[in-house]
C-alpha cells in the first residue's frame, strides 16, 4: 500500500525528470507495460483516465491493504459503541427502561452497527487520501492535461540517465505504440 506513496514522498523535494509516452488505447498501454517489465525497464508510474484492468498485475503492484485497515477501523467502531453504551447503562447512570435489564444487549445492536459502518468508512476514506498524498487544495504535479481525458501515460524517470539510456527508452516507447513522446521536469 505504501510503495508508490514512498516514492512520491522521497522525491518530493527534488524535481523529477520524466520521459513519458502517451497512448490512445488502454490495451496498447497494457501490452507496453508487459513489454517494459519483460525488458527490465524501471517504470516510474502509469497514469490513466480510468482504472485499467490487469494493469496492477502487469506493473507488479501488490494488492491494496485498504480493506484490512477498514476492518480495523470498523472493529474500533463496534467496540466504542458497545462498550460506551455498556458503561453508561451499567456503571455511570443505570436507568430501567420498560422493566428491561440494565445491560439490554439487543437494544444496543442498531447503534453498534451504525458506528461500525461510520468508523470503517471515515477511517478508510481518510487512510485512502493520506496514503495517496491527496487532500483539499493539494496540487500534485501532472504530466499532461489529457491524462484525465483520453490519454494513457507510461512514464520513466530519467534523472541521471545517459543520452544512450534515454534514446533506448524513446525507441521502446515508439515501438510499443506510443502516439506521443515527451519529456518534462516535475
Amino acid at each position: 500500500m505504501f510503495e508508490s506513496a514512498n516514492i512520491h514522498h522521497t522525491m518530493a523535494n527534488q524535481s523529477k525528470e520524466v520521459l513519458y509516452g502517451l497512448y490512445n488505447d488502454e490495451q496498447v498501454l497494457l501490452q507496453a507495460v508487459h513489454k517494459a517489465k519483460a525488458d527490465h525497464l524501471e517504470i516510474m508510474d502509469v497514469y490513466s483516465p480510468f482504472p485499467v484492468h490487469g494493469l496492477d498485475e502487469a506493473m507488479g503492484l501488490s494488492e491494496s491493504r485498504l480493506h484490512q485497515a477498514g476492518f480495523v477501523f470498523g472493529a474500533i467502531g463496534t467496540l466504542t459503541a458497545f462498550l460506551f453504551m455498556t458503561w453508561v447503562f451499567t456503571r455511570d447512570w443505570p436507568i430501567i427502561f420498560g422493566g428491561k435489564p440494565y445491560w439490554s444487549i439487543p437494544a444496543f445492536i442498531p447503534i453498534t452497527f451504525e458506528l461500525t459502518v461510520l468508523f470503517a468508512s471515515i477511517g478508510m476514506v481518510v487512510a485512502y487520501y493520506t496514503v495517496c498524498g491527496m487532500a483539499p487544495g493539494v496540487t500534485n504535479p501532472t504530466l499532461d492535461d489529457r491524462i484525465t481525458d483520453d490519454k494513457f501515460c507510461l512514464a520513466f524517470q530519467t534523472n541521471g540517465a545517459s543520452q544512450q539510456e534515454i534514446d533506448k527508452l524513446k525507441s521502446f516507447l515508439t515501438a510499443s505504440g506510443a502516439e506521443e513522446i515527451n519529456a518534462k521536469t516535475i
Binding site: 508508490s4 508510474d45 506493473m59 453508561v88 455511570d92 442498531p110 452497527f113 478508510m124 483539499p136
Partner: protein
Amino acid sequence: MSAAVSPIREPLIQGSKTYHQITEDICSPTERTPSMAWIIAFIVASSGLALYVFCLIWTIWVGIGSWNLNRTIGWGWDITNFVWWIGIGHAGTLISAILLLFRQRWRTGVNRAAEAMTIFAVMCAGQFPLIHMGRLWLGFFIFPYPNTRGPLWVNFNSPLLWDVFAISTYFTVSLLFWYTGLVPDLATVRDRAKGLRRKIYNFLSFGWTGAAKHWQRFESLSLVLAGLSTPLVLSVHTIVSFDFATSVIPGWHTTIFPPYFVAGAIFSGFAMVQTLMVMTRKVLNLEQYVTLEHIESMNKVILLTGTIVGVAYLTELFVAWYSGYIYEQFAFYNRVMGPYWWAYVGMMSCNLLSPQIFWFKKIRRSVFWTFVMSIFVNIGMWFERFVIIATTLARDYLPSSWSYYVPSWVEIGLFVGTLGLFFTLYLIFSRVAPVVAVAEIKQILKVAGDQYTGTNAHKAHHAKGAGVHH
C-alpha cells in the same frame, strides 16, 4: 470489465463515443453559461427555498403552535415529510452500492446523479425531526455528550435515538462515497479549465493524478464502501420503521414494517431518480448516456418494489382481520373507511395499481409515461406515510380524544420549501459537477458502447485495438 457480454444486451452508451467525446459531452454543461430552462428552474427552486427559510423562521419565532398538530395527532406533515424524504434518499446508495456488488453496468449512467439526489434528500429529511422538536437551539441534546446534567445520557434503547445515529451515519457515508467517486471527474474538469476556474477545481479534486496505484486503491475503497453501504441502506429505513413498529399503537405495532418500509423507500427513491433523470438527460443532452435501457431497468425496479409494497398493504389488512384483535381491526377499517379514506385511495391507486402498467414494455420505454408515473409514485408514497402516521393517530383508543388534522400554511410551506431546497441543490450540482460518472462510463465503453455491442456492433470486429474478444 472484460467479462463476456451477450450480444443481445442492449448497448448502454449510444452514438459510437470515443473517450474524448465522453469527456466533452459530460463535462461541457459545467462550462457553458446556463440555459434559459435552467435559469427559470433555478428561480422557481430558489423561491421555494426562500419560502422554506421564511416558514422555518416563523416556526422558530412563533413556536410549534403555528402548526395544526393537537393532543391526539402529535405527528403530522412533519414526520410524514421526514419519512418521505428519507425514503427518497435510498435510491442513490442502492444504485451505487447494491448494483455495484451485483455488477449491473447500467448503474454507471445514473449513479452519480442518484447519489447526489440521495444526499440532498437526506438533507431535506433531516430538517423535519430537528424543527419538530420545537426548540431547535437545544437540538444538540440528541447527541450523547458529557453534560452538566449528571451527565444524564440519551436513551440508547430508543428507536428515535437509533434514528439519529442511522441517519447521520447514512448521510456521512453517502457523502464520502459520492465525493470519492467525484474526485477523478473533478480532476477531468480541472484539466480542461483555465484561470480561476482551474484553481477552484484543483482545490476540489484533491490533487488527483490518475496514477495506477491510486486507481487500485480507489477501486478497493469503492468496493468496501459499497459493501458497507448495502447493509447500511437497509438498516436506515428499518430503523425508521422501528420508530413506529416498537410503539404500541394499533396499526404501527407490526413486524412487517421493516421490509415494507425498505421496499417503499427503494420504490419512491427510484421514482425520484426517474423524475430527475428524465429532465436532466433532456436538458443536458445526455440521452446517449442515460438511455431508454436505463429508464426501462429502473421502471422494472419500480414495478417490482411497487408490487412488494402492494402485497404488504394487503397482508396488513389480512393480518388485521385474522388477528381477531378488535383494536387492530378497527385501525385498518379506519384507514380504508375512516375520515382519511381519500389518502388511502391515493396511496393504493398510486403505489399498487398504477405501476402495474409497467408490465407493458412499450410503457416502460416511454419517457412520457415514465415521467408521469414517477410523479404518481412520489405522490403515492407521500400518501402512504400520511396514512400510516396521521390516520392512525386520529382514531386512538379513546373516542373522546378522536380528532382530525389539517395542516396550517406553515406546515405546507415547510414541505413545499424543502422541495425548493432539494431542487436548488440539485440544479447547482448539475452546473458544477459532471452529472454522469465520466471515468466509469469510459471504463464500460468497450463492453457497453454501441459500436462494440448490440445489433449495430459489427464495426467492432474491425476497430483498431478494440480489446473485445469474441
